[in-house]
């Protein structure tokens, strides 16, 4: 019956469709040319210039947008309500125009309104406004950049986010490692630990209330939780053996981590409400680096149970273990994309480190970055970009350099993330608004 209906549909379609149809298959993926004017302002001229500058930096760093030089602009937008002369903006090749207004309210807050115009369709795509404390003006710029990004790409932005990382200072023999956090553009750097004990693998809770990490605070590696508001820390539990590689579940209520006992490492689940601990794997091989899928139903981890470190997935209760990587070399630190379509990992092959991607079933493996040591992939909250860290080999003077990088999921546009000094082990936060 279904086939008959389809047949009838095609009969009908062939009769009634008499217009001219042309198929356009494929497109180019160049950055969208955008014009961002200075925001109109009656009081604070500085923010009228600074906020568009932050927006421009955010958009250009994504490599999905190309902001046209302000000197080319023909029309000066003096008022927020002024309608663009679209022909003038078309003439300079802008596809999209962004214009806004900054004002100070009686409540002492900064109010920012903005419009996004489709220059060629000659219509407004969206208009919005936001307000915040004057000291928080950078955040409002990031929020506007996220709105523009989402409106023009259809995906959530990632500009109003933070990156936690390990700030490194000193030489190899006496290196100080401190937990630090900064905005994704490098601003507002803040140190969260004093550097007296080594800290590694920080991870944000999806609700942003806590950071979990591994520290040698008590002399042996153990998992700690830090409140992001009060910076108070607590040991997850003085477990027998080492505990490491912790990550939150998508609902922020559980932790999955590795624990090593008598030389064997397995994966455990820890309920933060009940403090109940559940062993998920029980295998003589080393099982480590667990990470939840975004829906919380699966966990990806790496294990050497096949003789070499490979990636496996299992259900959240530890059942249904399936190997997903079969390539040459070793695979480590798998991280499930927030949008669920990829698993990022570190691969070691032939003495070289790579950052790679594969589908959750292991298909379509791609290597997108390489280096003497590249490690610790972490996803931007929109699943479109990754951050990782790269270390250079030691030079003759015994110096090494560790820096953070970001890269597009397409494998293009690798760029260094600006940090004060050396940095490793990045962890990208969820979107903050």
């Amino acid at each position: 019956m279904k086939k008959l209906l389809i047949l009838l549909f095609f009969c009908w379609a062939s009769i009634v469709h008499a217009e001219l149809h042309i198929s356009v298959d494929g497109a180019k993926s160049d950055p969208i040319p955008v014009a961002i004017t200075q925001f109109s302002t009656k009081t604070s001229t500085e923010l009228g210039r600074l906020i568009p500058q932050i927006i421009q930096n955010d958009l250009e760093r994504s490599h999905l947008f190309r902001v046209i030089d302000e000197d080319a602009y023909i029309q000066q937008m003096d008022s927020f309500d002024e309608k663009p002369r679209f022909a003038d903006w078309q003439a300079i090749g802008a596809h999209v125009l962004i214009h806004g207004e900054v004002s100070e309210g009686l409540d002492g807050k900064v109010h920012v309104a903005f419009r996004i115009w489709d220059v060629f369709a000659a219509q407004q795509l969206t208009a919005s406004s936001a307000s915040t404390h004057p000291d928080n003006w950078r955040k409002i710029a990031h929020v506007i950049a996220d709105t523009i990004y989402e409106r023009l790409t259809g995906e959530k932005g990632y500009f109003d986010t933070k990156i936690a990382f390990i700030s490194e200072k000193g030489n190899v023999k006496n290196k100080q490692r401190r937990l630090a956090v900064m905005d994704q553009d490098g601003a507002n750097l803040r140190y969260l630990t004093d550097g007296k004990s080594m800290v590694v693998t920080p991870r944000f809770a999806p609700n942003m209330r806590q950071i979990v990490y591994m520290s040698y605070q008590n002399g042996k590696p153990q998992v700690y939780l830090m409140d992001t508001t009060t910076l108070a820390t607590r040991n997850l539990g003085n477990f027998e053996g080492m505990s490491f590689a912790p990550r939150f579940s998508p609902d922020s209520k559980k932790l999955v981590y590795s624990m090593s006992k008598r030389g064997n490492s397995d994966i455990y689940l820890y309920d933060l409400d009940t403090s109940k601990r559940t062993q998920l794997t029980s295998h003589p091989a080393i099982d480590t680096s667990p990470c939840f899928s975004p829906d919380g139903k699966k966990i990806v981890f790496n294990s050497d149970r096949s003789g070499r470190q490979q990636l496996y997935t299992m259900s959240a209760d530890g059942s249904n273990v399936q190997r997903i990587s079969f390539g040459e070399g070793s695979y480590a630190t798998p991280v499930w994309s927030p949008r669920g379509d990829y698993i990022a990992f570190t691969k070691i092959k032939g003495g070289t480190f790579y950052i790679g991607l594969m589908k959750p079933d292991g298909a379509g493996e791609r290597l997108i970055a390489e280096g003497w040591l590249v490690e610790g992939p972490t996803w931007a909250p929109n699943g479109r970009f990754l951050a990782f860290w790269r270390q250079t080999p030691m030079d003759r003077k015994g110096n090494q350099s560790a820096k953070l990088y970001s890269i597009d999921v397409t494998g293009y546009h690798e760029q260094e993330l600006q940090t004060a000094g050396e940095a490793s082990d990045p962890a990208w936060s969820p979107l903050l608004h």
Binding site: L4, L7, L8, C11, W12, S14, I15, A18, E19, L20, H21, I22, S23, V24, D25, G26, A27, K28, S29, D30, I32, L64, Q90, H95, D118, F120, A121, L125, R151, L152, T153, G154, E155, R339, D341, G364, R366, G383, R384, D408, V409, T410, G411
Partner: protein
């Protein structure tokens, strides 16, 4: 149970067969008279420009000045009969009417003509002339041409046929190369985020209303899909139409205004199906 299935099967078969007679448009072609053999001067008609040649040329009315019956068949070449080919004389000069050799490749001579030709005396033979078969074919072609409904000169006939053939749906009129030209131009104007999730499943239909000079009066997104990227992607497709239209002589729609001005009513409403499949980098 089996009887029920039998009746169901029988009923469906009757329905499908009935639909074939009622709805299948291709069945209608069998009701038409077989199309006349049409000579195409390949030196004057570019294949790419006339790819959708006429289905209705036979049905097209002939201009009044053409009266096929009055024009008696012109004597064809005497080298028509195969057995006489060796001694075939130089054909009487008929340069204006003899089509070019490449035109005649698929045409077969008729038997009736052979009898007439055989009774005619042969001219002086030129034994080493190599193109006997060619001449035979030329003569046959000439005869065939005279037997067809039109007796107008070849060029005129071709022009008429082409004119006749450009009637009907714009899909038939627009040549493949022009269609490709428009699609390629639009593809160059369409700028998307190739890394966006799920775009490979998205198809956007944009209806474009065009002015007579090829400028865009209106571009409207006609469909909706649930993918998060659809809204921005569909807007980028609509933007591509406007961006392309603003490119002056480089506009993909200018070719419609320039080459198909007489068919404005057929292309003033254009449907574009944008499919980003090739842009995905994965």
């Amino acid at each position: 149970m089996q009887r029920k299935a039998l009746f169901l099967s029988l009923g469906l078969h009757i329905l499908v067969i009935g639909l074939m007679f009622v709805d299948f448009h291709f069945t209608k072609e069998y009701t038409k008279a077989p199309p006349a053999i049409l000579m195409v001067d390949l030196t004057k008609v570019k294949i790419a420009d006339k790819t959708n040649l006429p289905q209705k040329s036979v049905a097209k009315k002939q201009p009044p000045k053409v009266e096929p019956k009055k024009e008696a068949p012109k004597p064809a070449s005497k080298a028509d009969k195969p057995k006489q080919e060796v001694k075939a004389p130089e054909p009487k000069p008929q340069p204006k009417e003899a089509p070019k050799p490449k035109d005649a490749v698929a045409v077969q001579p008729k038997k009736e003509e052979k009898k007439k030709e055989a009774s005619k005396p042969a001219s002086k033979p030129k034994p080493k002339k190599p193109d006997y078969n060619l001449k035979s074919l030329l003569a046959s072609v000439e005869k065939v041409r005279q037997d067809t409904s039109s007796s107008a000169p070849q060029e005129e006939q071709n022009e008429k046929a082409l004119d006749n053939g450009t009637e009907g749906r714009m899909d038939k009129i627009l040549t493949i190369s022009d269609k490709d030209f428009i699609a390629t131009k639009l593809r160059d104007c369409w700028n998307i985020d190739g890394g966006a999730q799920g775009i490979e499943d998205i198809v956007i239909e944009v209806r474009v209303l065009l002015n007579q000079d090829g400028s865009v009066r209106e571009a409207t997104i006609m469909n909706r899909m649930n993918q998060p990227a659809f809204k921005s992607l569909s807007e980028s497709a609509r933007r591509a139409v406007y961006v392309c239209a603003k490119k002056g002589d480089e506009s993909p729609f200018k070719i419609l205004a320039d080459n198909y001005a007489d068919h404005y009513s057929d292309w003033k409403e254009l449907y574009l199906n944008f499919n980003p499949m090739d842009a995905n980098v994965f």
